[in-house]
């Protein structure tokens, strides 16, 4: 058996700095029925961090318990229509134990003609 004549220990440190999102979510959270954070915990979190900015919508779905939606979006689209749109895609990848964060960009184009 050989013997070590010399040993060294080295630590490499990488630091990545980025801005903390307030609240740590974007436009929509899709909360699974058995996710570690439920809709009530999420509601309390956003109520403390961003009061009056998010709406908790409980939904009837096999695996999804609720959605937390930024109120600004609900000013642009009706709630039912927005949920239907999000679930059309989000529902396919959501499962009981996940919380999915979604970013929604809505652009409204208006074109009007007036008589001159």
């Amino acid at each position: 058996m050989g013997t070590y004549k010399q040993s060294t220990k080295k630590a490499d440190i990488n630091i990545r700095l980025s801005e903390f999102e307030m609240p740590p979510m974007q436009d929509v959270l899709i909360v699974g029925k058995r996710a570690p954070i439920g809709s009530e915990a999420a509601r309390r979190m956003v109520d403390i961090l961003s009061p009056d900015q998010y709406e908790i919508v409980k939904i009837e779905h096999p695996v999804v318990e609720a959605m937390i939606i930024r109120r600004g979006l609900l000013n642009i689209l009706p709630q039912d229509r927005l949920i239907e749109l999000i679930m059309e895609e989000g529902g396919k990848i959501a499962n009981e134990s996940t919380i999915i964060r979604a970013q929604i960009n809505i652009t409204i184009e208006v074109s009007k003609s007036i008589e001159i």
Partner: protein, 286 residues
Amino acid sequence: MIRKVSDIMNKDFIIMNALDGVRTIMNISLEKGIGYFPVAEEERIIGVITYKELMQAHPNRIAADAITQNFLSINTDTSIWEAKELFEGKNTESLLVEKNNEVVGLVTESDLSIELGKHIDLLTGLYKSDYIYYHIAKLIENKSGISVIFIDVNNFGYIDKEYGHICGDKILKEIAILLNKHKDPDTYLCRFGGDEYIVVTPYHMEKAKSMAKKLIDIVGTYKFHDEFNVSISAGIAEERIYQKRITDIYTVVSNLINRASLASSRAKKNKCEFITACEMNIDEIA
């Protein structure tokens, strides 16, 4: 006596806070052997966690995210039969038992099923008398019309002695099936004692008499096993409660059953199909 939820409620529970973690509650549950946790927020009960919810919820969740909100509050005097109706009609999972606005116990559907099982007659599958006491009391409280039909099997002692108790038991079972099948849907049936059954009806005397006649005819013409001829007699008693101020419902219920029972004995003795309590002398009732 009618059993109350206070007789069967689970008193081993701890009220948890909405922000307590499921993991914490699970640890308390395992440590203390408690399976019922009402959850409160700002001194108001917002839901209930039982073993079922603890097993289903992610351990990182807060209590508010694991509770079932399918619960109702009842008081300690609620009967087990009313609790049964609440579970059936209101789609509730737990009943919180309160006294002076304070939670003193909790009843789940499985607790109640275990208790109700004790009130089922093993031979006939019918409920025992407690069930009937409750429904009579309820009809009296609702100031509904009410008549009790007390049914006795004629010569049952002879059947037992002559053909054996196994044979007698088969007949009792078949009569129970017949009565249950042919009684009106808004009436309540129980096996009161050995060869005695009671049907509680929300009817006045005339309609109750007609139903008693129908049941007597059905049993009398039925072909029992081994071609036995079996017949029944009935005593009918009506309670007119509209003008009365009732202070002790239990006494009224007991008297009503007693009057019907005496009328049934008289019908048997006189070898007539049925007799009504109002046809009897007051001395016989007293």
